[in-house]
């Protein structure tokens, strides 16, 4: 299967901001490469822009794993779209 990239916003709140969720994901899915593009963390909430790279079903699994830990994962809104 060919590799792909996916860009997501991760929101950490409700307790999971105090847990090392991204580290756990990296241990569980070492074949999913991730790149942190920006992050903002306060005591109550954290937001992180993450780019995943890997096989699509492995990215899906890594995202599902984050969501199981209570992380909200949203797609980054359409980047550049070449007009027809």
């Amino acid at each position: 299967m060919s590799k792909t990239r996916r860009r997501c916003w991760l929101t950490f709140e409700g307790g999971c901001q105090d847990e090392p969720c991204v580290w756990r994901m990296a241990r569980q899915y070492p074949d999913v490469v991730f790149d942190i593009r920006q992050a903002s963390v306060s005591r109550a909430i954290g937001i992180m822009a993450l780019q995943f790279e890997g096989e699509p079903d492995r990215i899906d699994a890594a995202v599902a794993y984050l969501e199981e830990m209570g992380v909200r994962v949203d797609p980054v809104e359409g980047g550049s779209l070449v007009s027809p």
């Binding site: 916003w9 593009r37 920006q38 980054v76 809104e77 359409g78 980047g79 550049s80 007009s83 027809p84």
Partner: protein, 420 residues
């Protein structure tokens, strides 16, 4: 004349050419349209604007279009009403209502942003446009697309009020009802925008779409005789209009068209969906997304795309924020209708109810000019007003029964002429 020169990331300042793009490739921050103000100085003047059409396109040189406007030729230029009767009720000196409940063609402020987005979609060569909507945006996209001959797909929450569904379908778009709330719809539209080569106005045309909201602010200033109100109270849903009213004020100041009197913008949300108000109250920069639960459905966005910038601008301007519960929102709808003859939807009621709270708390002084932004029309959501009024009396078609009922309604004060 091309006014916009590039798109710039609001977070890291990376620049991009004018293209259908929402976010920065480097940091995923949102991009914003940038203008060459030095080139516009002396070209965009009070006279040049006043010589323009009586529509939002009188400000076309401060909008990101390259050629002639292609949509919304009669949108904008809505009334700014001096609301003396409402002012007397609230105990304030100078109060205005910027009334986009009369906006053309679909009676909400969305006709401004869609006019600009569809013009830009046509310039980019798209033949299909779409949106994620709580109702008003779907109406506007459907109507403007019909008028421009574009294919339209409007995506709405599946529990949208019947009146708002009809208000879109009559224009013949493809309507898709999505199970979930607005935030679920918006999330899907992000994926649609990436997968299909469509112009989703509030996703991949967002930097252009949002610029249309500036015209609400430009009009307030021009209609006040090229002055800024000291206080502007703006509803917050996705967070489009408040930062753009602020940007409009700053552009007019930059171009020397108005004096900088230290305008403050204040945010209004329904208590059942107030992530931005809560963040401002708690001194946070980041808001917590919420599951909306309010009758003000058109502003029930729990994860506002531009919420972060609303928080920043309210603070920067020295403004305040308030939220109001549903019954206060309905009471405000009735108060505005009773005192000024303006029937707004719950979003407008929210803005007024929150303004009242901010006046009573002292956040907005009673002796300074205040402008309240009404962004939608109450006739679209009459069902929320059900149960708000006593049953109207029913009588026989006889004048003596009419006499009795008038006497009852007027508490015996009515003098009834004796029959000749």
């Amino acid at each position: 004349m091309k006014s916009a020169c590039c798109l710039r990331c609001k977070e890291c300042d990376a620049e991009y050419p004018i293209e259908p793009r929402t976010v920065c490739d480097d940091c995923f921050g949102p991009v914003e349209t940038i203008y060459d103000y030095d080139a516009l100085e002396g070209v965009v003047t009070r006279d040049s604007i006043e010589a323009g059409p009586l529509s939002l396109w009188r400000y076309r040189h401060l909008l990101p279009i390259d050629g002639e406007p292609q949509a919304g030729m009669r949108s904008g230029w809505t009334p700014l009403v001096r609301a003396d009767r409402l002012a007397a009720e609230l105990g304030v000196r100078e109060l205005y209502i910027k009334d986009d409940s009369t906006n053309y063609p679909t009676f909400s402020y969305k006709d401004r942003v869609v006019a600009v987005a569809l013009t830009k979609a046509i310039e980019f060569g798209f033949d299909t446009v779409g949106c994620a909507s709580t109702g008003n945006l779907a109406h506007s996209v459907a109507a403007h697309a019909a008028g421009a001959g574009l294919d339209a797909f409007v995506m709405v929450p599946d529990d949208l009020e019947e009146g708002k569904i009809v208000g879109s379908r009559v224009f013949g778009p493809n309507m898709i009802r999505i199970r979930g709330n607005y935030d679920d719809v918006n999330r899907l539209c992000s994926q649609i925008a990436d997968k299909y080569r469509w112009a989703i106005v509030n996703v991949n045309l967002r930097p252009f779409y949002t610029e249309g909201a500036k015209t609400h602010g430009f009009e307030i200033a021009e209609q006040l005789g090229w002055q800024l109100p000291r206080h502007t109270v703006v509803p917050v849903a996705g967070g489009t209009i408040l930062p753009k009213v602020w940007k409009a004020y700053q552009e007019l100041i930059r171009l020397g068209l108005v004096e900088d009197n230290g305008p403050k913008v204040h945010a209004a949300q329904a208590a059942g969906c107030d992530p931005v108000v809560k963040a401002i109250a708690e001194g946070e920069d980041i808001f917590h997304p919420q599951k909306p639960h309010t009758i003000a459905r058109s502003i029930a966005i729990g994860n506002p795309a531009d919420g972060y910038y609303v928080i920043r601008i309210v603070r920067e301007s020295g403004g305040a924020a308030a939220s109001a519960p549903d019954q206060e929102i309905l009471d405000a709808v009735k108060l505005l209708a009773r005192t000024e003859g303006i029937f707004t939807e719950p979003a407008g009621g929210t803005t007024l109810a929150c303004a009242i709270r901010m006046i009573e708390s002292g956040a907005i002084p009673r002796d300074e000019p205040i402008c309240i932004c009404v962004t939608g029309n109450g006739l679209k959501t009459v069902e929320v007003m059900q149960g708000q009024f006593e049953q109207a009396p029913v009588i026989a078609a006889k004048i003596n029964e009419f006499d009795q009922v008038v006497e009852h309604l007027r508490g015996g004060k009515e003098k009834i002429a004796a029959p000749a």
